[in-house]
């Protein structure tokens, strides 16, 4: 496989540095304090993969025709919505992603509900949770923690065994 690496970039893009410089250029000289933890929790799944019910979490928001797509508050709060049928589009323009290089018209590129349904159909996983969960990307770690507790409650209601989280 041919590498796409410029020899000047020996490894993956450093987004923490990139965004710090980007916002400094806009006159924000107090850099964002990214979450950092020494200890990391770890649990092994208690069911076989072929029997597991998989939940999925997205940072994107539900698409609404009546919302100004450039308004960051359009993302709203945490939410749970049905996985069948899978949404045809999601609201993404309020988030930080490379809109010059790519697009988010194919929802499965970041919320792969069709792909998960196919894996369930093929017996590769037990099932897909009846709802997917949305958690907006927030400046505040404390608000994100509250949203995490909401996702936990929904996942328990939906009897989810494992969770796939996909930040855009």
């Amino acid at each position: 496989m041919a590498a796409d690496r410029d020899p000047a970039f020996t490894t993956f893009v450093r987004y923490m540095d990139r965004s710090r410089d980007f916002y400094a250029a806009q006159g924000y000289d107090r850099p964002y304090r990214w979450a950092h933890h020494e200890d990391v929790p770890f649990e092994r799944p208690t069911v076989e993969r072929s029997a597991a019910r998989v939940g999925i979490v997205t940072t994107t928001a539900m698409h609404r025709d009546d919302v100004d797509t450039d308004d960051p508050s359009a993302s709203g709060g945490a939410f749970a919505a049905g996985t069948t049928p899978a949404p045809a589009r999601m609201h993404t323009s309020h988030l930080e992603w490379d809109q010059e290089t790519t697009h988010t018209d194919d929802v499965d590129t970041f919320l792969p509900l069709h792909r998960l349904a196919e894996l369930a159909e093929a017996g590769r996983i037990g099932s897909v949770a009846p709802r997917y969960y949305g958690v907006p990307t927030l400046y505040s770690h404390r608000q994100t923690q509250r949203n995490a507790e909401k996702v936990e409650a929904w996942a328990r209601e939906d009897e989810v065994d494992v969770v796939l989280l996909v930040p855009l």
Binding site: A3, D4, D6, F9, F12, V13, R14, Y15, M16, D17, R18, S19, D21, F22, A25, Q26, A35, H36, H37, V40, P41, F42, E43, P45, V54, T59, T92, W97, D98, E100, T101, T102, H103, T104, D105, D106, D108, T109, F110, L111, P112, R115, E118, L119, R124, V135, H141, T144, N147, A148, E152, A155, D161, V162, V163, L164, L165, V166, P167, L168
Partner: protein
Amino acid sequence: MSLVARHLESVGIPTVIAGSARDIVEHCGVPRFCFTDFPLGNPCGKPGDAAMQTAIVEQALDLLWSATAPRTTVQTPFVWDETGSWRTRFMRVDEETLPGLRRAGEERRAKQEAKRAARSPG
């Protein structure tokens, strides 16, 4: 999103993150991370490429059962394009973009200031 994974894991629900911002996720510290070295926007595969999307989702799910310790990162084998030109494009700061960025920052602060003034009477 990493904080959500950490919370779920801490209450007994195993998690895996599929994403493209490796430094941010690993800096936070998460149980399992399936990294695809793509521009931000399509962490589960290229638009229209269902086979790639399936491969990435499968690799992320595999990690749930194969990882034996936290902070386990795997990288999927996919390359966005041969040029790699996307790597320098996003959030680019140089002579060309700097004046526009300064202006955007000033405009945003003015807007926020106006909002604050409207909220506080007198």
